[in-house]
């Protein structure tokens, strides 16, 4: 779960990380009040859960509170890459002499939390890693020991900080790690962490991503979720424990395993068929969950839906019942191609055969394999087309 910048900023300031003075605003009045209180120049930042705000005009500098209010008016409701800003963070403007990147993340290549730093702050770290990997320094953190001061010293030296800067840098790094652990984060970033002309270090942009698997032990964080940053269908899918990704094509794709789902959309794509979505109901799905998943797969699928289910814990009969449940409408919006395999396959297929007999091949087709399913989809979309080379 991604936190907004203003939420991450609040949390990290509780750990003693220096941040700019400022407040988040939900209205222009609040913007004006904060800008007046801060006095002087302020930075307005659209609060959206996506990167690339700067390029989209979501970060602006105001010289006074009038200008701040005017800029905020443009920012409230602005669309940044599909995300709408309903809040704006109003921060004091800070003079910047140096920009650093500092973050704590999970390094999957070693399966350990890692502190990452670069003298190249203020840009997406993925870009720096891609273009100049030698400018990114990582030190693995042993969970038993935590982040040690000697490690921070080494990091500071690597990114060219002076000995005088260490007393400011060190507590910030240690605080980021403490927050990372205590909040079950998978990422905590200060980017940029800036050095001011006075030699202070301030985190101008803070980011935290919380491990979804750990939310059960952070009730306060669950309350912080900004549902406006999800589409209604994403919200519904999340609440049902179903994975849903919109892909924009015309054939819906439903499966009960991420690998099988990915394999299915890969095959469709290889045959020039663009998937509308990726829907994974996961293992142990019952009829209700299957029916719900099918609703999601139908969403945005204008030409067909392919269902590819391989039951291990769940039973094919249960899955078939779910399909029947969802098909209670007399006329389906688009044809279904169903491939069902695994535990109880015969019983499940028997239920589906009667559905197929009742609705006819223009509405429901049963496939014997993934290759067969794609052939059927091809037939339905383009007329006769063989499904070779799965």
């Amino acid at each position: 779960m991604r936190l907004h910048e203003y939420q991450a900023k609040r949390i990290l300031s509780q750990y003693g990380v220096p941040v700019p003075r400022g407040e988040v605003a939900s209205s222009m009045d609040q913007v004006r009040q904060t800008a007046e209180r801060l006095g002087g120049r302020t930075v307005l930042k659209a609060q959206v859960l996506t990167g690339g705000r700067g390029r989209a005009g979501g970060i602006r500098l105001a010289n006074n509170s009038d200008q701040a209010t005017e800029l905020a008016r443009q920012m409230f409701g602005m669309d940044v890459r599909g995300y709408m800003a309903s809040k704006v963070l109003v921060d004091e403007a800070i003079e910047v002499e140096q920009e650093i990147y500092l973050g704590i993340t999970i390094d999957r290549s070693i399966s350990q939390p890692t502190v990452v730093a670069s003298a190249q702050g203020g840009v997406e770290i993925a870009e720096v890693v891609h273009e100049t990997p030698e400018r990114v320094y990582r030190i693995p953190i042993d969970p038993l020991l935590g982040l040690r001061v000697y490690q921070v010293r080494e990091l500071a030296e690597n990114i060219g900080l002076s000995r005088e800067q260490l007393p400011r840098f060190s507590p910030i790094a240690l605080s980021l790690y403490r927050a990372f652990v205590e909040y079950d984060a998978v990422l905590v970033e200060a980017n940029p962490l800036v050095v001011t002309p006075d030699g202070d270090m301030v985190s101008l942009n803070t980011r935290m991503v919380i491990d979804d698997n750990a939310l059960f032990r952070h009730r306060d964080l669950i309350d912080m979720r900004d549902e406006s940053q999800e589409t209604p269908i994403e919200r519904l899918a999340r609440r049902h424990g179903i994975s849903y990704v919109r892909l924009g094509g015309r054939v819906g794709c439903l499966s009960n395993g991420a690998g099988l789902a990915m394999a299915t959309i890969d095959v469709l794509r290889a045959h020039g068929i663009k998937p509308a979505n990726f829907v994974d109901i996961h293992k142990e799905a019952d009829a209700e969950k299957m029916a719900q998943g099918l609703q999601f797969a139908l969403n945005g699928a204008s030409q067909a839906v392919v269902i590819n289910v391989f039951c291990s814990l769940s039973r094919c009969q249960e899955i078939a019942r779910g399909i029947l449940l969802a098909c209670q409408k007399p006329d389906l919006s688009v044809p279904l191609v169903i491939r069902l395999e695994g535990t109880d396959a015969q019983a499940g297929r028997a239920l589906l055969e009667s559905l197929a007999a009742e609705r006819g091949p223009a509405q429901v087709r049963i496939a014997r394999s993934l290759r067969d399913a794609v052939r059927h989809i091809g037939d339905l979309l383009h007329g006769a087309r063989s499904g070779e080379g799965l």
């Binding site: 999970i106 999957r108 290549s109 399966s111 350990q112 939390p113 997406e124 770290i125 993925a126 870009e127 890693v129 891609h130 042993d142 969970p143 038993l144 652990v181 079950d184 998978v186 491990d211 979804d212 698997n213 750990a214 059960f216 032990r217 994975s243 990704v245 892909l247 499966s255 009960n256 395993g257 991420a258 690998g259 099988l260 789902a261 990915m262 394999a263 959309i265 890969d266 095959v267 469709l268 794509r269 290889a270 998937p275 990726f278 994974d280 996961h282 293992k283 142990e284 391989f310 039951c311 291990s312 814990l313 395999e341 695994g342 535990t343 396959a345 993934l370 290759r371 080379g389 799965l390």
Partner: protein, 307 residues
């Protein structure tokens, strides 16, 4: 031979007295798995399908000599269950539970590394037990569909008729694809030595490299199928191992070519982050290392038959 599980496996189901535990137990008993005990705190003294349930792992082992565990407790209890099993010296822990907090996995791996290298701290009164070799402490998972050695032992939920004994080793991040591929192999007359679902997450227990090493050392396994997906570096690291140490042929299949970056595709670990973790990068690494990459599911069988 097969790896990890065989006819000598005596399984303990950690979480047996729950709905999930009951389903796994029923399925495994139907597959002929030798389940000797269940563990659920507070349910000790009860029975399920003829299998005794205990309050703790240690009690279960003392009473039944269990030598492997399948963990299927809820995610909030999984770390405790895995650590308990590791502490009780079980050499194999298969974690079916999905959605374990990442930082719990960090702690678990740290502890397993410790027990794998260390002698067990033994009070003075009990000394005299000698440890000649480091303890094995293998964790498969989380979110593992299971470890299946057809004809010997099936740990996890195995759909009927999908697996058959043979000499192809299969390792996969995806459970559903493991079943799909195993089913295709069986239909083509290519039996499996062991099929292992290593599970999913930003952090897992045994990775591709650990399992490849076991297959390389297993006399029964002649060829290996590796099923990968987007996200992380497991396939790239496997490629390194294939180039340096594998003498047996490896056929690889990687899914997620059509996945957008930044969105986890069902699996928490199936996530393209920035430029890292694309299917294309993994395929290139595996091909450079000498693995044969199947472009389609059907091609897996073709490449294996070529030998």
């Amino acid at each position: 031979m097969s790896i990890l599980v065989n006819q000598d496996t005596r399984l303990l189901v950690h979480g047996m007295a729950s709905r999930e535990g009951a389903v796994y137990t029923e399925r495994m008993l139907a597959s002929g798995t030798h389940i000797v005990a269940g563990v659920t705190a507070g349910e000790g003294g009860t029975w399920l399908a003829g299998v005794p349930i205990f309050d703790t792992v240690r009690e279960a082992i003392r009473a039944t000599d269990a030598n492997a565990a399948l963990v299927c407790v809820p995610p909030s209890e999984a770390m405790d269950a895995i650590l308990e099993a590791a502490d009780a010296e079980l050499p194999l822990i298969v974690c079916a539970t999905a959605g374990i907090p990442v930082q719990d996995m960090v702690q678990i791996r740290s502890y397993l590394r410790y027990v794998a290298g260390a002698a067990i701290p033994t009070p003075l009164a009990e000394q005299g037990r000698a440890y000649e070799q480091p303890r094995q402490a293998v964790l498969i998972g989380p979110a593992s569909p299971g470890v299946f050695s057809p004809g010997k032992s099936m740990v996890g939920a195995a759909p009927e008729g999908i697996f058959t004994p043979g000499s192809v080793g299969v390792l996969s991040r995806s459970g559903s694809l493991a079943y799909e591929v195993a089913g295709m192999l069986t239909q083509a007359g290519l039996g499996q030595s062991t099929v292992i679902g290593i599970g999913d997450g930003l952090i897992v227990g045994a990775g591709f490299v650990d399992i490849l090493a076991m297959f390389e050392d297993d006399p029964l396994t002649e060829q290996v199928v590796l099923i990968g997906e987007i996200g992380g570096y497991g396939e790239e690291m496997a490629a390194g191992f294939v180039a340096d140490r594998m003498t047996k042929p490896v056929v690889a299949f990687v899914v997620g070519h059509t996945a957008p970056a930044g969105r986890p595709m069902g699996h928490q670990g199936a996530l393209i982050e920035g430029y890292a973790g694309t299917a294309q990068a993994k395929i290139e690494a595996l091909e450079r290392a000498g693995a044969r990459v199947a472009r389609t599911l059907d091609e897996i069988v073709q490449l294996l038959e070529r030998g």
